[in-house]
């Protein structure tokens, strides 16, 4: 549902990142890293991106989405593990003091411009 707003920000940041000296730039790929916890639906994001890039230097660009797993660390025993089932409790010592060290990403990593 918030994919449209996210897509608009992606397009704005990508457009701002095109070096000024390039004439008639054409962006071919946009590389994103999106954490599983962020609840962005990749297909919706791709759809929104396609709609709003029509007629811009990003038209036709491929949106590569690297989905980052949810990784947690126990503050009590230091154990690190990948969360699959939305249980944020340490599997080792049962502590509830758990820190999410990856899985919330909503990052734009790089763009690929046609030569």
């Amino acid at each position: 549902m918030h994919e449209m707003g996210i897509a608009m920000q992606v397009v704005k940041i990508a457009a701002d990142s095109i070096p000024e000296h390039i004439q008639n730039p054409r962006v071919e790929q946009v590389n994103l890293k999106i954490g599983k916890l962020s609840s962005v639906v990749p297909d919706s994001l791709r759809f929104c991106f396609e709609v709003i890039t029509k007629g811009t230097p990003l038209e036709g660009a491929v949106l590569n989405i690297d989905v980052a797993p949810v990784v947690a660390r126990c503050r009590d025993c230091g154990m690190e593990w990948t969360i699959e089932d939305a249980v944020f409790r340490c599997k080792e010592c049962n502590s509830g003091s758990v820190e999410v060290i990856s899985g919330r990403e909503l990052d734009i990593i790089s763009i690929e411009i046609a030569d």
């Binding site: 549902m1 918030h2 994919e3 449209m4 707003g5 996210i6 897509a7 608009m8 920000q9 992606v10 940041i13 990508a14 990142s17 095109i18 070096p19 994103l32 916890l37 962020s38 609840s39 929104c48 089932d85 939305a86 249980v87 944020f88 409790r89 509830g96 003091s97 758990v98 999410v100 919330r104 909503l106 990052d107 734009i108 990593i109 790089s110 763009i111 690929e112 411009i113 030569d115």
Partner: protein, 223 residues
């Protein structure tokens, strides 16, 4: 040619949220962001809450609604200053963004408020992603929804500082398993305070009011 970008997609929103947070701290106002699915009872809970805590706690409310002013009208009856934000159903406005809150805050005399409550748009997904510069977050879940909502929307339940389980007056008519619901909440967010209450009958309202007023008092004494 590959160009490194390395930016957070929502960095503009985060920057606005940071500005809001500084401004709220300077004015000494505590900001609560209240979120839920549509119809879980946020407005009803706020109506009852305002009546009980005002005028001892000076409150203001920002309410986001897709296209009506009904919620604002209901809340204004409490006597608290209320600002309504109407968002467009298009353009991804399924949440209140930080710059929108910043603008809405201009309508208040922040120096003379202790508590500013933001009733976010009814949605368990998007508002979790957008920092608005708040001090605390509360999620409202009603017993007419599934017990497993916390496991389905873990981001929201992890982000929030307390949870309200509303509409307990309806429990006799439903198969809602309260222990399972609390279990799901604590599985996603161990130790999160949970308040079972009925905003309609006001049963169970006191622990919630105590939590809220304690937060506001701590904020005031931290100045």
């Amino acid at each position: 040619m590959e160009v490194d970008v390395a930016r957070k997609i929502l960095d503009t929103n985060d920057a606005h949220a940071g500005q809001n947070r500084e401004r709220f701290a300077a004015a000494g106002v505590f900001v609560l962001n209240m979120m839920s699915s549509p119809g879980s009872g946020k407005t009803t809970l706020l109506e009852k809450t305002l009546v009980r805590i005002m005028p001892k706690i000076r409150c203001g409310v920002i309410v986001g609604d897709i296209c009506t002013t009904n919620d604002a009208d209901r809340l204004a009856r409490s006597g608290a200053p209320v600002t309504q934000i109407n968002t467009d159903a298009f353009g991804g406005d399924c949440h209140l963004a930080a710059h929108v809150i910043g603008k809405a805050a201009d309508a208040f005399d922040l120096e003379n408020l202790d508590l500013l409550i933001v009733e976010n748009i009814g949605n368990l997904v998007c508002p979790a992603e957008f920092d608005i510069g708040e001090n605390a977050r509360t999620v409202v879940l009603s017993v007419t929804e599934g017990e497993d909502k916390p496991a389905k929307y873990p981001h929201m339940f992890r982000k929030c500082d307390s949870a309200v389980l509303n509409k307990t007056d309806l429990l006799p008519y439903l198969d809602f398993d309260m222990a399972a619901a609390e279990g799901f909440i604590h599985q996603v967010h161990p130790d999160m305070p949970i308040f079972q209450l009925s905003a309609k009958t006001e049963e169970g309202l006191s622990p919630w009011l105590n939590w809220l007023t304690t937060q506001v008092a701590e904020n005031r004494s931290a100045r």
